[in-house]
């Protein structure tokens, strides 16, 4: 067998498919999937969003009527408000909590594997099971949380039965699944060069200043990635509030995706559902773009 340049250039007989065609062939499943399960639905949903469509009968073009109806629909604004409120509180609080736990783990502690597992495990609990467990924990009369509050003399609220306490309950529950972010931040922290901390020590920085001035800037790209993913995830919140609350309790736990689902599959109003989908898509793209622009100055990319 020869491996000279001449043989390489002469090309091996029998290999007739050109390189570009080979590449396209390899990625062709993805291309077909992209067209069939991504491009086609997005295109269709744009058309449906401009139509009256109940699935059972062909769509009828109605222009922007669906969007106008949404704009004057109080339920739409309610789910919008709930979703934004949830994201605006759970994402910053969750990020800070995850960073703190990751920093505590990024020490020379023994039993790192155990602590990390304890924090990470909740993220693996099927959402249906998690919803059940937390309904039980949040139970107004017999729930573990209110019993614990009772020990320190506080009468706990009827969490999931009181519109004022539904959102705090859901946000508390969301903090239970910061484990994924903790694992990601921990890996990022372990990549920060020790020399930077040594330099900071020479400058006489304390633990907190080192964290804020060295650690956070060094892992800022990872934080940015996580925050963007969390924003996208917040617009998809569905299973937990759907199981726990539905559109009950004065719609205090009624989220954007839940209303979209109800429009499509409960009211069979594909027009409204598609309009909501497009609004959601535009919001997510805008928020992601905005996060990038804002963080352009703040985020430090290592060369």
């Amino acid at each position: 067998m020869s491996s000279s340049a001449a043989v390489k250039q002469a090309k091996v007989p029998g290999r007739r498919i050109p390189e570009w065609a080979t590449g396209v062939l390899f990625v062709s499943p993805w291309l077909i999937g992209l067209l069939l399960f991504m491009a086609l639905p997005i295109g269709l949903s744009f058309y449906y969003s401009l139509s009256d469509y109940t699935v059972l009968e062909p769509p009828i073009f109605v222009g922007t009527a669906n969007y106008e109806r949404l704009a004057s629909d109080p339920v739409f604004w309610k789910v919008m408000r709930n979703t934004i409120l949830y994201a605006a509180i759970s994402i910053p609080v969750g990020t800070i909590l995850a960073l703190i736990i990751a920093a505590l783990l990024n020490t020379n502690v023994k039993g790192l594997t155990f602590f990390r597992a304890a924090v990470f495990l909740p993220t693996l609990v099927p959402l249906v099971a998690a919803a059940m467990v937390w309904m039980w924990l949040f139970n107004g009369e017999l729930g573990l949380i209110n019993t614990a509050l009772g020990f320190i003399g506080i009468t706990g609220p009827n969490w999931l039965g009181d519109a004022a306490w539904v959102m705090p309950a859901l946000i508390i529950m969301s903090l239970w699944s910061v484990g994924q972010a903790v694992v990601i931040y921990l890996a990022a922290l372990q990549d920060v060069p020790t020399s930077l901390y040594e330099a900071a020590d020479l400058d006489g920085m304390g633990v907190v200043r080192k964290f804020l001035n060295v650690t956070v800037p060094m892992i800022s790209p990872v934080i940015l990635f996580n925050v963007i993913m969390a924003i996208i995830a917040a617009w998809q919140v569905f299973a937990v509030p759907y199981i726990m609350l539905g559109d009950g309790v004065e719609r205090a736990g009624y989220f954007y995706t839940m209303y979209l689902y109800d429009q499509a599959f409960r009211f069979l109003n594909m027009g409204a559902a598609s309009a909501m989908a497009w609004v959601q898509l535009v919001i997510i793209l805008a928020l992601t773009g905005l996060t990038f622009i804002i963080s352009k100055r703040a985020v430090h990319y290592r060369a």
């Binding site: 067998m1 390489k8 091996v12 390189e19 570009w20 590449g23 390899f26 990625v27 993805w30 077909i32 999937g33 992209l34 449906y48 699935v55 736990i101 505590l104 783990l105 020490t107 020379n108 502690v109 304890a118 909740p122 693996l124 609990v125 099927p126 959402l127 249906v128 059940m132 467990v133 309904m135 039980w136 924990l137 017999l142 239970w176 994924q180 972010a181 694992v183 990601i184 931040y185 890996a187 990022a188 372990q190 990549d191 060069p193 020790t194 901390y197 990872v222 990635f225 617009w235 998809q236 569905f238 995706t257 979209l260 429009q263 499509a264 599959f265 594909m270 989908a277 997510i284 990319y301």
Partner: protein, 300 residues
């Protein structure tokens, strides 16, 4: 590994106290779930709450009653448990979930492995643009697509079958493609170049060199995808219609939606059962898990 050291003994004690406290808080809901699942119904409602059944020696009996249930020889139910529930057919939902998971995971691993090769090892015009498109699709959430997808699958005659839950997986997934491509790029190019010069085709390089070397990355993809399918709620909720096709996640919800009178101990036993396989997988593959998650977040 650049870890920070806590040298001061007081700081060290405080650190361990904080970590133990945090771990307990995170573990508590799950411990309470298991604890409730091992109590008879009457004891789930006691104040103050008890962590163990009374008497403790009843624990094995409670476990059998709540999880397996007890049925007499002529089929009469003495104790209603998760596995012998006449209304909510847990074993059937388990079977459905495993069928969907098998078809979905197999498809996702095979297709993403092939597609990633096209992005990592074959040079073609437009590859960069296409790969950017793969990354962009990660930002499109499923809820945006679900209504039109329902219409499309309805045209295919797929509604009320398992197909919508696994067929799309055979066309690859963005996260999986990105993860595998990153992994392929760490494999020395000299290996496949040598093989190519020896007359090996791209298919040959893929099958004989790249695939065997990528087993760890393929395992990560399979593991994550299995967990995703196992936990998925929205997909089955939209595309399945008959109760005898339900997956576990959907079936578990029946306990809650059916009536308010399902006892908490049964609910918690069912929740424990659905968590169990995931828990076992996690314990067996903790390192793979942690590394997989970490690399997912670290691609900059």
């Amino acid at each position: 590994m650049a870890t920070v050291e806590a040298k001061n003994p007081i700081a060290k004690t405080a650190l361990y106290a904080a970590l133990i406290g945090i771990s307990l808080v995170f573990a508590l809901p799950l411990l309470w779930m298991v604890s409730t699942s091992l109590k008879p119904e009457a004891q789930t409602l006691t104040t103050p709450p008890r962590w163990l059944p009374d008497p403790v020696t009843d624990l094995p009996k409670n476990a059998i009653d709540n999880y397996v249930g007890r049925t007499t020889e002529d089929g009469e139910i003495v104790a209603r448990g998760v596995l012998n529930d006449p209304v909510i057919d847990f074993p059937l939902y388990l079977r459905n979930t495993l069928i969907v998971a098998f078809l979905n995971v197999t498809g996702m691993v095979i297709s993403s492995a092939v597609i990633a090769y096209g992005f990592a090892r074959v040079k073609w015009r437009g590859r960069g643009v296409m790969f950017a498109l793969v990354l962009a699709t990660m930002m499109i959430p499923f809820p945006v697509l679900m209504a039109p997808l329902y219409v499309i699958f309805r045209e295919f005659g797929w509604i009320g079958t398992f197909k919508p839950l696994w067929a799309p997986a055979w066309f690859g997934g963005a996260f999986q493609i990105v993860l595998l491509r990153q992994f392929y790029l760490t494999i020395p190019k000299e290996l496949d170049e040598a093989a190519r010069i020896d007359g090996c085709s791209h298919v040959g390089v893929f099958l004989r060199i790249i695939l065997p070397l990528s087993k760890p990355a393929l395992a990560v993809v399979a593991l994550f995808q299995f967990i995703f399918v196992w936990n998925d709620f929205l997909g089955p909720l939209i595309f399945l219609q008959h109760r005898d096709q339900f997956t576990l996640a959907l079936g578990l919800q029946l306990y809650q939606s059916q009536a308010g009178n399902v006892p908490w101990n049964l609910l918690m036993a069912a929740s424990t059962l659905i968590l169990l396989p995931v828990l076992i997988l996690f314990v067996l593959t903790q390192r793979t898990f942690v590394e997989g998650i970490a690399t997912q977040g670290l691609k900059e």
